[in-house]
Amino acid sequence: MSSLLVLAIVVAIGLVAFFIGRQRAAAQDNGKVKPHSRAHYHGWWAFLLAVLPALLLLAVWAVGSSVYLDRNIHAALPERTVNSKVASEALDVSLVKSLARGLRKLDAGTLAALPASFAELQPLLAAKGVALASDTQDYMIPIAVEANKVQDRLGLFGAVVILALSIAGAFYALRQIAPRSRARNNVERLMLWGLLAASTIAILTTVGIVLSMLFQTITFFESVSPMNFFFGTVWDPRFAAAGSGGSQGQFGLIPLLAGTLYIAAVALLVAVPVGLMSAVYMAEYATPRVRSVVKPALELLAGIPTIVYGIFAVVTLGPFLRDLSAALTGGSPFIQGQSIFTAGLVMGVMLIPVVSSLSDDIITAVPRAMRDGSLGLGATRSETIKRVILPAALPGIVGAILLTASRAIGETMIVVLAAGVAANLTINPFEAMTTITVKIVNQLTGDLEFNSPQTLVAFALGLTLFALTLVMNIVALYIVRKYREQYE
């Protein structure tokens, strides 16, 4: 029986239990004893007891039986020898599994008289719309048939046990129903556990991110030494197509890191002054009417996806700057179509609303009294801003700038399109340079062999990026939080 069907039956049992439970609880309320919980709580408790344990068992059973099947197939496969036709044991197993899945589509008559060679079997399967790898071997057919039988047996047995558990849970809950039984507390306790589980997903995500990248990075460092990675100045990973054995390349982080920081610095040079000044203007000078127009417009700027900025940079701004520089020198352009300057400029514009909305919050959080005090002593508005408000808001603004910098470092689409792919080390802002994020995308798009260092390096880069932004975020959040407390 398929697990989807089992799931549907379990839920159906749960619903029946809900209605019976509610009915029974309502029937018991004869007005003599004040019931502890309202009738539908009894219903829900019956539903939960019927469904939850059964679902847990279903999940465990599904995972367990697939592991058991894999081991069975492994054991049944012939010993691997030098002249095995299939490249690896894992491939062997997956071929058997897809064959077994294909056999499911055949009708009973064909299955009874199954041909023993794959050459004869393939057209039968193809007629049912099943396409199989041509290196499926004859010896796999009986293994696949056997695997299907085992799977059927396991599925049937599991379904019976799960349904029995579900019915038992429902009966147990229904028997418990009494006017003074505390169904509401039971239901609420389970709900609380559910809420707690939902909030731990954030932790699980972080753990998932760190562990997944850590394991791949460790595998990467088995073939490339960390010294070469962190201090290498040459990035030349070579191309490793699947099965080519993986020629060695050089994986130096320095050019990528330099490019990342350079572009981020250019972006911050654009975003911080402009964003900060617009925040100051919005908070201190703008009339309510100007504010009501400009603020949504800046929010709109923040809502535009980064791919649009990237395309603007590469389709419009890049060629424009190149032609402009060619016109200025009267011939050869000194700004390339893809350059640090173009990417940084566009990224800076993207970050303007980020800086301005963060600093707006911080500036308006400076207490009114400080402002009034300064104005009362005769300072002009700009003097108040420069000498009182900004110094008071400085820690918060530093935090905001750090958060913005972390956005700039992790930004992907703008640099993928506008910064170029060549890993140069240059200080000329009008040349192309590449970044960590660009190389992650480059190394992982396309058909690369997963376990080659060329692919694994993307995870090492990802971990570096994650660590870099993590430190910046934590410092920034710490500063912002600490600062907020000062005036509260």
């Binding site: 996806p305 649009v308 002009t380 700009s382 992790g410």
Partner: protein, 438 residues
Amino acid sequence: MTDIPMDTMVRAAAHPRRDIGLKARYAAERRFRIYGAVAISVGLAFLAIMLITIVSKGYTAFWQTTVSLPISFDEKVIDPSNKRAADPSVLIKANYPKLAENALVAKLGINPDDKPAIRQLKGFLSEGARVQLRDIVAADPSVIGTTRDVNILTAANLDSAFKGQIDLSVEEARRKVSDQQIAWMNKLKADGVMAEHFNTGLFSYGASSRPETSGMGVAIIGSFYMMVIVLLLALPIGVAASIYLEEFAKKNRLTDLIEVNINNLAAVPSIVFGLLGLSVFINFLGMPRSAAFVGGLVLTLMTLPTIIIATRAALAAVPPSIRSAALGLGASKMQMVFQHILPLAAPGILTGTIIGLARALGETAPLLLIGMVAFVADYPKTPFDPATALPVQIYMWANEAERAFVERMSGAIIILLVFLMAMNITAIVLRRRFERRW
């Protein structure tokens, strides 16, 4: 002695007042103010320039040139040896472009033996004519032997020429349409046969190597699946997590850890979520590559922090008096939260969710890593089939060389921005309409 002029006395009395440089200070004030106005204008000007260039490049993508031709479904071309009763695949493999070519030859009055002219004619109509005519025949084989008017797409170059985007003053060998083709085009235009129509194909076609038959159908469906998955997963989980943290959690190590994690995840680069999806969902759990389901999961993890932060703010904004009143009337804490606090916080939660969804809709980088940059020509029937997404489709078109793809790409950006703007405006309207000041 007494004849000291009055005005010098006044001047002498005023003189000791310190020069406080009011003029300079006011000038500084004005300058500062102008800097602020300039800063805002820079941002807004950039926004305007960007939108104007994209719209001016892209609006033509919503029209596509077609030629209306009387196609005669000639049996001699489709099924020369009359085998279709025995072998239906004849109808699939038949030389359909020939039909369109014959119709065009007849229309333009070209001598069918004029080989060079015929060769130029081949580049006139889209290769998509093959599929278009095949579908007509496959749907109704009895059409063979009859004549029917069909709107056939022109090739992308002719489409550009028709829209006036090709500079005809350039020497003939250096542009993509020949003088002969232009002459034909003008003739057909004068006959009213060749015309622009609203480009429904942009919304319905899948991936294609030819600009005129490529569209965003697959991407729209893929993005739709992902948004549904994000909504179904991120909203309940996010709300549950916020309720726990805001209403139930005691201040301890665990809740501190969760809070730090959420705040940090909100600032983690999106590409890192792509790496997570690739190594956990695809390599470890064996989920299919390029599938909208995996994309939805990755975007869910990415959107969760946004929704949690918005929901917590909305819950915290509900005044404590409501809580006290509910508890005072004998509600349990769970009843108080679900029956009183949550409905009052709903508008804020909804606004945060829509903004989170809008961010997820525009996100590209993590989807590149889980293999959604795929050439998918068929509609995905389930979320587990290969699909692309709107921003990824834009990225793929950006990597194409032909200028007609740039037009389509800009058109796609317009559509994406319209979707995003609609979502953001909905969020703003909701906030305005339901916002309560306590």
